[in-house]
Symmetry: C2
Subunit: 417 residues, 2 copies
């Protein structure tokens, strides 16, 4: 981490003036008390911004949150895990609105000041009867905490909760940014995480916050992939409440530059945490493309390599298979010349000028045996670069994703299908 | 099969005037006598056509065969399995030329009348010293056979040899078309099979044959996917020797129409055979997209669904998961409206208007439990259609593709690396 940033405990509760809460409604698992409904609330009015899935099939909460952000700023977020409220039609919209209404009235907010997010199985009706008895408890539990309750409540197939928070100084004012994320499956650009919430006590206009979020998402969440599948529910929502008492961050100012650097850091740490916790994956691979003719060429190469089933299988097997990497480079549709391509694995030359390099196979295998390593692909045709973060693909991933029949059986038990 | 076509035994040897041969050089497996070097030769001069991988990383034999086809017509094809001769630089070109020369002189042909193809591991030098002692035997064995020796010699991770041949009448003349294919991994449009050779005793100009091949490949090999990885070696080469004694097939004639129908049938049967024999896969799924605004929209939807790791995992698990199908439809970049999408599985409605249909889950699960089934996705926005053939993705596929270290160890033993 760069010097000016200090890591804090917790996530969305770390900045001043944010209260959090989470309860268990039995959606994720009817038989175990796992947190699955969460609330984030700012004591002061906020500015806000969000980016959402570019999938044309959008979950109801995505549509509702987008509409609310168009109307003005959010001040609270309600989120559940276990059911994505996707492909649920007008009933889904009704249910997402009902979730907003359930907390808007007690918090004395307008419905349009609430952001709503859901994650879980697609195509099953929301079990609203499981939420309703729990709203009171959700509101009662609201208090100044570090936000770990929210991080725990939004995870699904994740193996652990993921949050990150930092503090840094802007002039005489100490600013905090905190966030949580859930990921695990259906992870691919654009807009890679399924759900990510970020809070800050900085003062920043809605317009400036929106631009900052777009810029930072492009360099973090849009650069990760696990399985290449883009979700229907991907949402990043950021709330800024100004509780640190600083003057408004002006666009193009030096404070704005530092703020964006901090926001990017938080998003990148959360994005990487999603890849590291990919469903049943075992490797975290940084793929750096250099020497491309254009940014787009570099991006195409990185995406082709990071999404190739054969490349990902070889990573799973600890095989430094540069032949499969260059074959994906070749079909990326980027303008490349085979005889110019260099590939380094963990800094060691695997392929030079399109041909096998001198490095011994044992040295390369040693690199790939580690849980994290870096691959550099130099196209030697220009100056453009692009970096992506990817995982392997494991037999266990496929086994894990073979069937969602159990969810359907539960929905039938609940009388929903 | 349509009425006028009769299936024949064998493959590339079924048409008149083609001789075949295959020998074992110990490339595929040094310890077991498996055929791995094959030769196809026409007793009469041929017209010829080919389509090749669009991967910018092209194996040496692809470059050499393309150059030979530009110079004129081919009359023979030499092919090996076990080593792809890809990413092998100028030495690879030298070796591909040497394979052509080894048979050109004894057959009294020019080097440029020979097509050459290789399939196997990428990035390792060709073990030429294993071929050289076997060329004489390859030429001695050349004779009138049905071509099953060639089909057996080109397979790699395939579980069985794949060939198909038919006869049909054009006026008073009986015409035969036969072909063989190898596939299994690295299978994706465009130019999906790694190697496919087709022979016919029809009389057709090079120009007309080239157009026929392009049209038929587009509707067969370019419509299949197993793992979404496009190979460096994909080659389809077609030889026509006119041995049936018929007059030349004229463009746009009724006989040309029947010939193309027959050629398409052979290619489609071979392409489907590749998917059915996908590496460690268990399902053959036909995905029909209907009601798209344009052909390109229909194609984008079919490709997104057929390449989704999550959709393929659910097929592996026998789970009729329409939620994952519609989520892939959504991120396909085709212009779709969620509320118009209908999905039928085995003719039974799974999703109507973007919402779960009435069909019971048990009925849908019964369909998906079969090794072959059909999914229809109607976008209800236009008249365009597109059909693709896909497999599931299995834990065993990944396990199978985890490491090619054994090939490298063999190459080291051979003193090649």
């Amino acid at each position: 981490m760069d010097t000016p940033f200090t890591r804090l405990k917790g996530g969305v509760g770390a900045p001043q003036g944010f209260l959090t809460s989470a309860v268990s409604c039995g959606i994720k698992n009817p038989n175990a008390a796992r947190l699955d409904l969460a609330l984030i609330y700012s004591e002061k009015p906020c500015t806000s911004a969000g980016t959402f899935t570019t999938n044309r099939v959008k979950a109801a909460p995505v549509r509702v949150s987008q509409a609310h952000l168009r109307k003005g700023d959010l001040r609270a977020i309600i989120a559940n895990s276990g059911n994505a409220n996707a492909c649920t039609g007008v009933l889904g919209i009704r249910d997402a609105n009902a979730m907003c209404d359930a907390v808007a009235n007690p918090l004395k907010l307008k419905r349009s000041e609430i952001g709503v997010a859901s994650t879980g199985v697609i195509g099953l009706p929301m079990p609203m009867s499981r939420f309703e008895p729990k709203y009171d408890e959700l509101l009662e539990r609201l208090g100044p905490k570090n936000g770990s309750d929210v991080a725990a409540a939004i995870i699904t197939s994740d193996t652990h909760a993921k949050e990150f928070a930092i503090s840094f100084d802007l002039g005489e004012h100490r600013i905090r940014i905190g966030g949580c994320v859930k990921g695990a499956g259906m992870i691919s650009p654009s807009m890679a995480t399924m759900l990510c919430f970020i809070t800050t006590d900085a003062s920043i206009s809605s317009e400036n916050l929106r631009k900052s979020v777009l810029e930072c998402v492009e360099e973090s969440f849009n650069r990760i992939t696990i399985d290449g599948d883009m979700s229907t529910n991907d949402s990043v929502i950021v709330l800024a409440n100004g509780a640190a008492g600083m003057p408004m961050i002006r666009r193009n100012s030096s404070t704005c530059k530092i703020f964006r650097q901090a926001l990017r850091l938080v998003m990148l740490e959360l994005a990487k945490a999603v890849v590291r916790d990919g469903e049943r994956t075992t490797k975290f691979v940084t793929v750096k493309v250099e020497g491309a003719r254009t940014y787009l060429d570099a991006k195409k190469v990185a995406e082709a390599v990071c999404k190739s089933a054969l490349v990902k299988s070889s990573w799973n097997g600890g095989d430094p298979n540069w032949g499969r990497i260059i074959h994906a480079v070749g079909y990326s549709r980027a303008r490349i010349r085979e005889e110019l391509v260099d590939i380094h694995i963990g800094g060691k030359a695997a392929c030079l000028g399109g041909l096998q390099a001198e490095t011994s196979m044992d040295e390369l295998r040693e690199v790939v045996s580690h849980p994290e390593f870096e691959i550099t692909i130099n196209l030697n045709q220009g100056e453009s670069i692009y970096t992506m973060y990817s995982s392997d693909l494991s037999p266990e991933y496929i086994d894990f994703n073979r069937s969602e029949y159990a969810y359907w059986k539960q929905a039938r038990k609940d009388g929903l299908v």
